[in-house]
């Protein structure tokens, strides 16, 4: 594709000579027939050293390169330009005779069902959805239009996906929540009879687990993106347009607002409420409700400003103990001297 054609398609201004562009790559790796990009000004040196045929960047950096596409939101336009070159995963269409599709399932004629996929009773697969090999879609599920359900993902019974959801490989939606009643005879399982519901444009990462509700529904709102190896407990409700980074765990029945960002490996207690727009740092342990707009991190949870000061102070704690001991001794001596004076 010519650079000029990319410019036209994306509505961007092009500077410098036109070129044939075959793909997109990093400043470091791009060759003469590849487009690269500059998002972070700290990579200006890499920009100058790059062999990229053209670079997508903001107007102020354009003088540093020969061929440029100008953008006011480089990261967004990067997403758009990569889309022009992206090839989808898999090359199949149609419904494989090696799949198992229950006779009561409704599969849209434009959907793709790969070999070894299992589609259960009364389940609906909508237009253009793609179900990869090894997926299990249980009974009474609904997979929305244009969904991609990657290999070996599991949707247990009654799972609902909105349109354009992406379920990465090995993801489990609707496994049983962890609910047991304590009895003299041991932990008695509370049957988990609820289900999981994702909105539109939700993405869920590889080997992530979202548990079915005990009774009603575990929900993930439209536009929310959940990374790999995340655990979402039963009855959780996550709002719209959130980001949940890899390794995070969210305890049962916790409600999370819209636009919340949760860093990697964070742990969020069960039965709490996180307000809209809250930001939770990586590895944080959130054990209490958070008002909208909170910025917290660490275990025990603190606001981020406090954490930075505490983090800087912590290595000085052992020294502080010694300093206080020294002060105590000095005051002891002073008291002894004074006592001596008074005695004398």
């Amino acid at each position: 594709m010519l650079l000029s054609e990319i410019a036209t398609r994306l509505g961007l201004e092009q500077l410098g000579p036109d070129r044939e562009i075959l793909g997109v790559n990093t400043l470091e790796s791009a060759g003469e027939s590849e487009l690269s990009f500059l998002v972070n000004p700290k990579y200006t040196k890499a920009l100058e050293a790059s062999r990229a045929g053209a670079v997508l960047l903001s107007a102020e950096h354009a003088p540093l390169v020969e061929s440029a596409l100008l953008s006011e939101n480089v990261y967004m336009d990067l997403a758009r330009v990569v889309s022009l070159f992206a090839r989808p995963q898999g090359q199949f269409t149609g419904q494989s005779p090696l799949a198992f599709v229950h006779e009561t399932a409704q599969v849209h004629e434009s959907a793709t069902i790969y070999p070894f996929a299992f589609i259960g009773p009364e389940t609906r697969i909508s237009a253009n959805a793609v179900i990869f090999p090894g997926c299990y879609i249980g009974e009474r599920c609904c997979v929305g239009a244009d969904c991609l359900v990657y290999p070996n993902a599991v949707l247990m019974s009654d799972t609902v996906l909105g349109d354009r959801c992406i379920v990465q490989p090995g993801c489990v939606l609707g496994g049983d929540g962890f609910g047991f009643a304590q009895t003299p005879a041991g932990h008695m399982k509370i049957p988990q009879v609820g289900h999981v519901q994702l909105g539109d444009d939700v993405e869920v990462g590889a080997n992530t687990s979202i548990d079915r509700a005990a009774l009603d529904v575990t929900q993930v709102g439209s536009g929310t993106k959940v990374d790999s190896l995340v655990q979402v407990g039963h009855n959780v409700r996550i709002g719209e347009h959130c980001l949940v980074v890899a390794g995070t765990g969210i305890g049962g029945s916790t409600h999370i607002g819209d636009g919340v960002v949760i860093g990697g490996q964070a742990g969020i207690k069960d039965n709490i409420t996180i307000g809209d727009g809250a930001m939770i740092g990586a590895q944080a342990g959130v054990n209490n409700d958070l008002p909208a707009g909170s910025k917290v991190t660490y275990t025990p949870m603190m606001d981020i400003g406090t954490y930075l000061r505490v983090g800087a102070a912590l290595p000085r704690l052992p020294g502080l103990l010694k300093r206080v001991r020294r002060l105590e001794k000095e005051l002891e001596r002073a008291r002894a001297d004074k006592g001596g004076e008074q005695d004398g």
Copy 2:
């Protein structure tokens, strides 16, 4: 089912008018034909606002509702009542011709084998067990009676499940332990020739991994429940009736007693011993043996009382540093003054 019939089946006292009950739901979501429940008195307001047709609760809260089932252990009776309405996952019976069952495997005639399940040589599947699509049951495994092995679970060779175990989707039992000898040529794999053994009534969560032993056996005792995304290292022994919450990692060869409760995302060192009834907080880092009945949390590990005080004190650490500096200066000045006096 009539409320009076539920009362009879569970042996509970019924108060107020009888009704047709079609299911169980939360106070918030339940409608007129649903039974709800009150476990935690803090939800008394939700109880008053609920449209539930009847409520399972303790006698003291009965005056707040029209129709009630009285219980002395609401959570346990909730488990029992939900069981009356629960539908099992999947609707198949029998052994699918689309499964692969090795000719030397012994599958009980009452067991269910779904399409695309793989049952290896010399493996035994007991009465009423259900093996879902995409499961791999390797050679010489034994799956006990009434076990549920959900989709895409993997049991590597020689894995033994007791009766009534539940293996959630994507769970891996018997993957290789992480054992390597350091050699001048790099990390040399120590073949992991042991196996994994679960007792009766064990549940293992979605995408959890329990590694096979290096030589003998990795064990999980009867009645123990392991949540999603947990890692259990090789040679670990977990006792009976434990609860291990999601995201926890247990290092190799560690022994855990009976009735231990481990919070989410805790990390437990290899080669240590945790006594019966210990309670380990979420995100704790346990790096030493724990006596029976210990209650610890945090990294570095502390008893829970100490942690609460330390957690409250931590945000005050930066201010403490300043206060000590101020004290030091004051004493310096005092010393200087005194020196001046003595000199004078």
Copy 3:
């Protein structure tokens, strides 16, 4: 196998009477026809109590047993002796007619393809590789010679494995990286068009996820071993001969040198560089570049020596707050007295 034959095969010195040896086991569990081993001198008591037929140990401990194999590197020789008795997982050979192999895939005649495996277009499976049931190998992948790809592992398009790699069950290689551009309409997916490449002799644990690069490649160097439930972000590069323990998360575009050891549940920030030979403790939060040879742990990250002192001091922090308050009061009183004196 006779003990003497083992000695000959491994080139080790044998002491005491010869015996028939049928396997290897721990000191605790070994019987008369099993070989055991002593790696850690703290188990000398277990050695004395052991019923093992023979023991692999260093010369200094040989007098404690009747039959011995002498070794200067017991752990390495243990790996070698276990290999003599290890049976591989699975018992199949050849290519199952129940697998799906695309007509453009090239599968070496010595490779094994189990039932329900999926081999995509233009993919190459090399000599002696074994692809277990339920594996998905997407298009244009390359699986090197002697690789073991265990059940339900997923290799998305363009994934490359060197020779002798081991992919544990449920592992996902090449799922999409977590990359989104922020737009007024929400998070816009940046298509992830790069791929994953493992060197030779790499092992990847059960249910681990290694994301494909956004544009170029996510790499794991030869000889590196990655444990279960690890998340490796897009564009990460891990060097050779590293060990990454279970539950760890590595953020996108981070570069890790050779010979690095990362403890369990550690979290490593995106876009940083870890030098060769660094050691990172369990549960550490690494948020900055680390020079070669660093030894750090904890969140906030500290060198290990500092951490040990801080960890010992932390439980004393609440008491320290009280002690400082006491000092402040004493000095206040002293000032008041002095003021009184001066007034008087």
